[in-house]
């Protein structure tokens, strides 16, 4: 098949790739060629990819084809293209984490644990993706590597800090992308680019071989164009890792087989209070229509949400500032101008402030867990607004004005602060820009997040509307 003659029948989602490959309808090499052609055509306008690993992808595809010829067992992601935020180690490539600071560093000697897992499942690595420097931002406006453009409207932000991942998946360049989420960096790009995303429970997935930002808040997870692909990717990524001190020693808990179990018997409630007060009209619509579609007529308020967001902000500033303090002193000219002031200020936070934020986290987690005695799943908007313009300094909610770069995570920070699993489902208010809803569950219940997202997808409310071919 000539990849340049791709059409809508070419395998497109991860599940379609697996089906087409395992049935013999096409080879992994053909899928890789089509993927690379898509990237070559679309990436110049998006700036989603920082590095395209074409030779490696072709080699991996040949290996998967060879395994099929030998009738060896094929993995659950056989011949599925994927790409990763450039804070994941890729053997032979310097891990940039969006930062010029890291350019002189040697190439990674081995792949990150999660890349190894996707490769073992048959996945084909297409490249590394743009991000806010150090993962500190919500817009993927990067002074050194350029902004990533939103595929829905190229004048707008793809969100951040995993904007390259959001844009690559939304544009149909790869069906699955890996990203990190400290305060919302999976959920904000999912919302603004209009794709599905999953931030698993803190400690669920291994972070070995990824560039740390805020150790006590860093999560890794997948973005995808469908809930089935999201579950496929998530299941392949699971598995404990003794090398990551935060990774829980839990057995894998597969979700794909339970994806279609529906929501009968689930107690679903919509979050109000702080979440409604920080939602623009589209965000409020998304939260309300999702709840209505799910038959979730009860509404609840979390206690002390504003303080939770403040505590997350302080922990982020303090840990990231401490991480970079020495290099801020010696290499200040190498730092991203858009975030170096925040890093320096964070490095000056008194220990007592940081400790207070950690103490608050424990108290807040206990309050939220109490709420989960009466509720199984919570619904809230993922972002206050749809995608802002690139360079847009602020946005308004009513008569209040918020700086864009630090505040796109207003609705995500209070959730990841206590490590809860969250799926984002993309909804489409009037106009052409998507906005996501967060589907929040108790720790370790990613299956519930995915089942609810699946129901919204099957109801026709949530979809990635990703262009084919």
């Amino acid at each position: 098949m000539n990849p340049l003659s791709m059409n809508s029948t070419f395998p497109f989602t991860a599940a379609e790739c697996v089906d087409a490959f395992t049935s013999g309808a096409c080879s992994a090499v053909e899928i890789a060629a089509a993927t690379l052609a898509r990237i070559e055509k679309a990436n110049p306008a998006l700036n989603a990819f920082i590095e395209i690993t074409a030779p490696r992808m072709r080699r991996e595809a040949e290996s998967v084809d060879h395994a099929r010829q030998l009738k060896q067992p094929l993995g659950p992601l056989a011949a599925v293209p994927f790409a990763v935020k450039n804070l994941f180690d890729v053997e032979g490539i310097t891990t940039l984490a969006g930062a010029k600071l890291y350019e002189p560093y040697p190439p990674a000697r081995r792949d990150a644990d999660l890349i190894q897992k996707l490769n073992r499942a048959g996945g084909l690595l297409a490249g590394t993706l743009n991000m806010d420097a150090y993962a500190y931002g919500f817009t993927t406006e990067n002074t050194h590597y350029g902004a990533t453009h939103n595929p829905r409207d190229a004048t707008r932000s793809a969100g951040g800090s995993s904007g390259g991942t959001g844009a690559a998946v939304a544009a149909g360049l790869v069906p699955i992308g890996l990203a990190s989420d400290t305060n919302g960096s999976i959920r904000v790009p999912s919302s603004l680019c209009g794709v599905f995303g999953l931030k698993p429970t803190y400690g669920r997935l291994s972070r070995t071989g990824s560039q740390m930002f805020v150790s006590s808040l860093d999560h890794l997870g997948p973005l995808a164009t469908t809930t089935e692909d999201l579950a496929l990717a998530y299941d392949a990524l699971q598995g404990s890792d003794p090398l990551d001190p935060a990774c829980a020693l839990r057995p894998t808990e597969p979700t794909r087989s339970m994806l279609n179990q529906g929501i009968n018997g689930l107690r679903i409630a919509r979050l109000t209070g702080y979440f409604d007060e920080h939602a623009g009209p589209e965000a409020l619509w998304a939260s309300q229509i999702a709840a209505q579609t799910l038959g979730a007529f009860s509404e609840v308020e979390l206690p002390g949400v504003a303080a939770a967001r403040s505590a997350a902000y302080l922990i982020t500033a303090s840990e990231s500032g401490a991480l970079y303090q020495d290099r801020l002193r010696t290499h200040i000219d190498q730092f991203e101008p858009l975030s170096r002031d925040r890093l320096i200020a964070g490095s000056l936070i008194p220990a007592a402030w940081y400790q207070q934020a950690l103490r608050y986290r424990r108290w807040y987690l206990a309050q939220v867990m109490r709420l989960f005695r009466d509720v199984d799943v919570l619904i809230a908007p993922a972002t206050p607004i749809t995608a802002p313009l690139l360079g847009q300094p602020s946005f308004k909610l009513g008569n209040r004005e918020f700086a864009t770069r630090p505040n796109m995570g207003l609705l995500t920070q209070p959730i990841s602060f206590i490590g809860l699993p969250v799926a984002v489902a993309p909804l489409w208010p009037e106009g052409n820009l998507p906005i996501g809803v967060q589907i929040i569950a108790p720790p370790w219940r990613e299956d519930l997040c995915l089942r609810v997202a699946r129901v919204l997808e099957q109801a026709g409310l949530a979809s990635s509307r990703t262009p084919r071919g």
């Binding site: 429970t201 803190y202 400690g203 006590s216 001190p245 935060a246 829980a248 002390g304 504003a306 303080a307 967001r309 403040s310 505590a311 902000y313 302080l314 500033a317 303090q325 801020l328 002193r329 200040i332 170096r340 002031d341 925040r342 320096i344 200020a345 964070g346 490095s347 000056l348 936070i349 402030w353 400790q355 207070q356 934020a357 950690l358 103490r359 608050y360 986290r361 424990r362 108290w363 987690l365 206590i418 490590g419 720790p443 370790w444």
Partner: protein, 64 residues
């Protein structure tokens, strides 16, 4: 216009902490850092507005 006492206190703290950490900043960057620290100070005030029991221990999310 003279800054208010709170702003003066933040400026003094930032300057002293920068000196302690042996960081010398250009004037514009110093001003940006002061603005960011003022924001962090507001976050601390919001946190103070939600008192929690005195004996609460710091979180250990590893036990989630």
């Amino acid at each position: 216009m003279n800054p208010d006492p709170k702003t003066r206190a933040i400026e003094s703290y930032v300057d002293a902490a920068l000196e302690l950490h042996q960081m010398t900043l250009a004037a514009e960057l110093r001003q940006d850092v002061i603005k960011q620290f003022a924001l962090l100070s507001q976050m601390k005030a919001t946190l103070d507005g939600q008192p929690i029991p005195v004996g609460e221990e710091p979180s250990n999310l590893y036990r989630l």
